[in-house]
């Protein structure tokens, strides 16, 4: 297991060493979203009884930061290693593809959690603390990070240049997170778009995560857990198949 631990430690150290870019910057971005949206919409939007719009927004922003940073961590690490060629340093040692997968995904979760915690801590003074069901918070935090870390791994393996990775990020990850109910409840959408939202797995991550804060959500957290857990399982199987076949890593 030492090889796995080393790779995990290396991946964590990699983002930690450039913490301004990988942690502080996304926290600031989320804070700006909160300040602007809450300033503009606080008086106009109320999604749940007894929950201010600003308080409603916080879990969404935390989760969005977790997801985007978990994806960025594994995908950017892999593409950089591939483009610069230093990927061979982890391909030459006797690491199994399970270890490879687990190290990259756990490091991604780690960055997602650190950024998410940063966003939460810097926004608490605005909204106060609401933790109705902390276990749900933890479950969706970890599963959300894991799914995006895994997607980042897939994108990093698939992409051959930064341009392709940027396309994956901007045309898939960003729309999925923005159109998932971070800034609104899907009940405020027209029926058609409500239906469309149900096909977006990120919606379930954010809705379930938000349930942990307020004890209310658009749909049952159990359904969200089933969808999110199922997605993680499918993506894990796909990624392990890619790794075991050597797809784009061991030509």
């Amino acid at each position: 297991m030492s090889g796995f631990r080393t790779l995990l430690y290396k991946e964590v150290l990699r983002f930690w060493k450039v913490g301004f870019q990988t942690v502080a910057a996304p926290v600031l971005t989320a804070l700006l979203y909160l300040l602007i949206f809450s300033h503009v919409l606080e008086a106009h939007v109320r999604v749940y009884e007894n929950v201010s719009y600003t308080a409603f927004l916080v879990p969404g922003l935390v989760m969005m930061s977790v997801l985007q940073n978990a994806f960025a961590n594994s995908s950017s690490s892999l593409i950089q290693s591939k483009v610069t060629g230093n990927i061979i340093f982890v391909l030459l040692p006797p690491l199994s593809y399970y270890e490879f997968f687990a190290a990259y995904v756990l490091a991604s979760i780690g960055r997602g959690v650190v950024v998410g915690a940063g966003v939460l801590l810097t926004t608490l003074w605005l909204t106060g603390a609401h933790f109705a069901a902390p276990l749900w918070i933890l479950i969706f935090l970890l599963l959300g990070g894991a799914i995006m870390g895994t997607l980042g791994l897939i994108a990093g393996i698939w992409a051959e240049k930064f341009d392709q990775l940027a396309a994956f990020q901007n045309f898939l990850i960003l729309p999925l997170t923005f159109l998932s109910g971070v800034f609104y409840s899907i009940h405020s959408l027209p029926v058609f778009w409500q239906q469309v939202s149900h096909f977006n797995p990120v919606f379930y991550m954010i809705d379930g995560f938000r349930y942990g804060f307020f004890g209310v959500s658009d749909i049952s957290p159990w359904i969200s857990l089933a969808v999110v857990g199922g997605c993680f399982l499918l993506l894990t199987i796909l990624t392990l198949k890619m790794l075991s076949s050597g797809y784009k890593l061991r030509s």
Partner: protein
């Protein structure tokens, strides 16, 4: 009982699209050998090394390192192999020492500090140990690559063009170190474009062309394939060469004439005929056959009688 080969390659093929990179390679390298893998660009050397290291999966055939199949028993095979890649790759996030500590960890080795320090010392990296990889010169990055290949003390070390772009001083230091490793029992496999390096270092050599091994023998036997010597003479301008010698000239220019000799003792006769013709010899060089000539002959680039190696 016969000894387990350090490397065993059996009927390995690999195709990339329309290119047959490896076309049925069979090769055995004994433990402790200093083995050279030569061939022009695109011959398949790096593909073969990549297959050995598990970086490329062959279409058919099998490869073993110290008796361990590189796919079926990949953990043991990879522990037995240290690879110095051709490309000058590095991780820009870390220092030399961090890089080596991570590489040790990947191989499951903890507390490798003493050995890492020893490698750093021998590769003359001590004063750069805590420097970020980005700040190192090309030669130093190359030395770190060698160090990375050695952190897990592999019995078999493969060096893919390790001295490409490296200055003479560093090259000498590197070879001293690699020779020492070989004396200590490590099997060394080397690819290089510097044929004189291969000639002086390798006990046995395989020459590859278009995915096949086209020559495989001890260096001495390969050199003995080239018979004769080459003689270069610098003569006064416009000196008429004796007729019997004219036919033996293979190249001429700037007052230098190059001739082929089948036997070394023919030199005396040539010098005598020049003396008789009253021609003063201004300078003289006698060249032995070298690996470059063998290489060129094997690769089919020159005719058997054309010994250009020493003459250009």
């Amino acid at each position: 009982m016969s000894q387990t080969p350090a490397i065993r390659v059996h009927q390995v093929t690999k195709r990339f699209g329309s290119v047959q990179a490896l076309a049925g390679i069979d090769l055995e390298i004994a433990p402790g050998e200093f083995f050279g893998l030569l061939g022009p660009n695109g011959a398949g050397k790096t593909t073969l090394i990549s297959a050995l290291a598990g970086l490329t999966r062959p279409d058919s055939g099998s490869l073993e390192v110290m008796g361990h199949d590189v796919r079926g028993d990949y953990r043991a095979a990879r522990r037995a192999l240290g690879v110095v890649p051709q490309e000058l790759v590095f991780d820009p996030f870390f220092t030399v020492r961090e890089t080596l500590a991570f590489q040790s960890g990947y191989f499951g080795i903890r507390d490798n500090g003493a050995w890492v320090d020893e490698i750093i010392h021998h590769l003359d990296l001590s004063d750069k140990a805590d420097t970020n990889m980005r700040r190192l010169s090309g030669g130093m990055k190359r030395r770190v690559l060698v160090a990375q290949a050695l952190v897990h003390r592999p019995p078999v070390i493969v060096l893919d063009e390790p001295t490409a772009g490296v200055d003479v001083e560093l090259r000498q230091g590197l070879w001293q170190f690699i020779r020492r490793l070989n004396r200590d029992g490590h099997t060394i496999v080397l690819t290089t474009h510097y044929l004189e390096e291969a000639e002086s270092l390798c006990g046995r050599i395989a020459m590859m062309k278009e995915g096949r091994i086209v020559a495989l023998d001890t260096t001495a036997n390969l050199l003995s394939r080239i018979e004769g010597h080459s003689l270069r003479l610098r003569l006064p301008a416009n000196a008429p060469l004796p007729v019997p010698l004219e036919s033996r000239v293979t190249a001429a220019g700037d007052g230098w004439f190059s001739l082929n000799l089948e036997r070394g003792e023919e030199v005396e006769g040539i010098l005598a005929s020049l003396r008789i013709a009253g021609i003063n010899i201004l300078d003289i060089e006698l060249g032995k056959p070298d690996l470059e000539q063998v290489f060129m002959r094997v690769m089919g680039k020159i005719a058997a009688s054309d010994f250009r190696g020493k003459l250009q």
